[in-house]
Amino acid sequence: MAAFLLEVADVSKVFGGLVALKSVSFAIEEGEVVGLIGPNGAGKSTLFEVVSGGMRPTGGTIRYQGEDITNLPAHLRRRAGMSRTFQKIRLFNNLTVEQNLAVAAMQSTPAGRTWKSEVQSALIRLRLTGLVDRKPSELTLADRKKVEIGRAIVGHCRMLMLDESLSGLTRDEADDLVGEILALNRDLGVTILVVEHVMPVVMAMARRLLVLDYGTIIANGLPAEVARNPDVITAYLGTKKGAT
């Protein structure tokens, strides 16, 4: 049997009376780049929270590296190499760019390497070396997004979950960032799960798409197939103007 890096089985999440996730199941293999799409309020960010440990699911199980992590605290998931960014950027605003990365590197640097060299290589990879002493408030949106990604990949990172990292960027900035994200997958073998609203970008990045609608997975397959799926067209593409 194929060994999955992440297995989400029958996961649900209820907020009061609102069912945000309804029996969601899917699996991701090591090294994949998977896109997660769906209309506003479909439950994408909630799924990220539940997988990364920010919220406990109401039901179901989550397995990572073959182990049940449903009740593992979020910070231990990060130390085990499962990283995420936030839909609305969250940085340590009173720390420098370098310190933002250092905090994370100190938690999960693999034995035999130093957190300083981990920070350095992440800064170089994301071309942030000129900004090490800046505070987040002094950076452009694109650079702040990079810092958040840097904080996620520094140290031990095996799986990266990006929640709309490209939104708000110009076309050039977005292309630039997509290149860097794909390089993480290509060079370091990081498994990537991206939530993205801009369809062409997702189609270009992901080799597989998951479509979430009202908390349910309604499609799971190759981007070209998913784009032709009638359910997806009515649920997502049909309701969202300009997304083709």
Partner: protein
């Protein structure tokens, strides 16, 4: 580069000036005592700054840890003859236990629970201190048995011998804060302060970090409590656990710069100097109430003009000044 350099030299000059104070021509025991009071005030601010300024956990009842340090040392000494250099450990241990209890219960929750708990615990300890009269002397307070000049009891008729330990404490706490701001533990505390969810996502054990920060801050505060009671020779429930005391502990950092190493030092010094100056002016011009009004007005002015504390504008000033 220039800033660091001049800051360090100004700092060293200030420390030497204070250390040699008793030798200065105009100096007398009133001035020395005033400086010791200032140093104790600053050290309390520095201790609070660790959890509130660096860790972002608003303790509104830090008097608890101060009072435990002071009472533990004093009670052990009077009732069982335990010298303060042993009693101080009991005070720090008591503060640590209370810190673990408060933090253990509230730090898993978000929001105002921790701040509220510190207030409630303060009020409870104040009540307890007033109630157990046999042990604490109740409302009247507790006077340390006076031995005169004594190494055993760490007591002195003159204030001067307290100058150096108080100065050492402030310098030590300053160095500790500087180190903390760059250390792994300090970065974790600051990350938690800035954003708990992001800290968790970075792999930081948020609960443990807050708890350890409070523990450190509480122990630092209790140590100052011991110094306080050795110097003043008396402690009472309001002075130890009261909310006025707790507010006093917060002011140096708020005035000088929250979460910075120099902030509480600067803030504490400015506050005491301003207080002495307004006192002097009001007695000079014989207008009762002028001192409080002027002092309050000055603090208000600082808070409005420099909401981040004095340390920011001051370092900007030093940076701008030509050689």
């Amino acid at each position: 580069m220039m800033t660091r350099f001049s800051f360090n030299w100004i700092g060293i000059a200030c420390v030497l000036a204070v250390a040699s104070l008793p030798a200065w021509p105009f100096s007398d025991s009133y001035i020395v005592a005033a400086v010791i009071r200032t140093l104790i005030f600053i050290a309390l601010g520095q201790a609070w700054n660790v959890i509130a300024g660096i860790g972002g956990q608003l303790s509104l009842g830090h008097g608890v840890f101060f009072g435990l340090g002071a009472y533990a040392t004093a009670i052990l000494f009077n009732l069982w003859g335990v010298p303060p250099w042993i009693g101080v450990w009991a005070g720090m241990l008591a503060a640590a236990l209370v810190a673990v209890a408060i933090g253990g219960i509230t730090f898993r929750l978000r929001g105002v629970y921790f701040a509220l708990a510190t207030v409630v615990i303060s009020l409870a300890f104040e009540k307890l201190a007033r109630f157990f009269v046999d042990l604490t002397g109740g409302d009247a307070g507790f006077a340390l048995q006076f031995l005169g000049d004594s190494w055993w009891g760490l007591q002195s008729r003159e204030p001067t011998p307290f100058l150096w330990p108080a100065l050492a404490l402030v310098v030590g706490y300053y160095m500790l804060t500087r180190w903390l701001l760059r250390s792994r533990f300090g970065l974790e505390l600051q990350a938690v302060r800035d954003d708990e969810d992001a800290a968790t996502a970075a792999g930081v054990a948020v609960f443990r970090t807050k708890l350890m920060g409070l523990l450190l801050s509480a122990v630092m505060t209790a140590l100052v409590g011991t110094l306080h009671v050795q110097f003043y020779l008396t402690i009472d429930p309001g002075n130890a656990f009261g909310l006025f005391q707790a507010v006093q502990i917060q002011l140096p950092s708020l005035i000088g710069g929250l979460g910075t190493a120099i902030g509480p030092v600067l803030g504490g010094a400015v506050m005491i100097i301003a207080n002495e100056a307004t006192n002097w002016a009001s007695s000079r011009f014989d207008v009762p109430g002028l001192d409080v009004l002027a002092y309050g007005g000055l603090l208000l002015f600082i808070v409005i003009r420099a909401p981040e504390g004095l340390s920011g504008p001051l370092s900007a000033m030093l940076r701008r000044r030509p050689r």
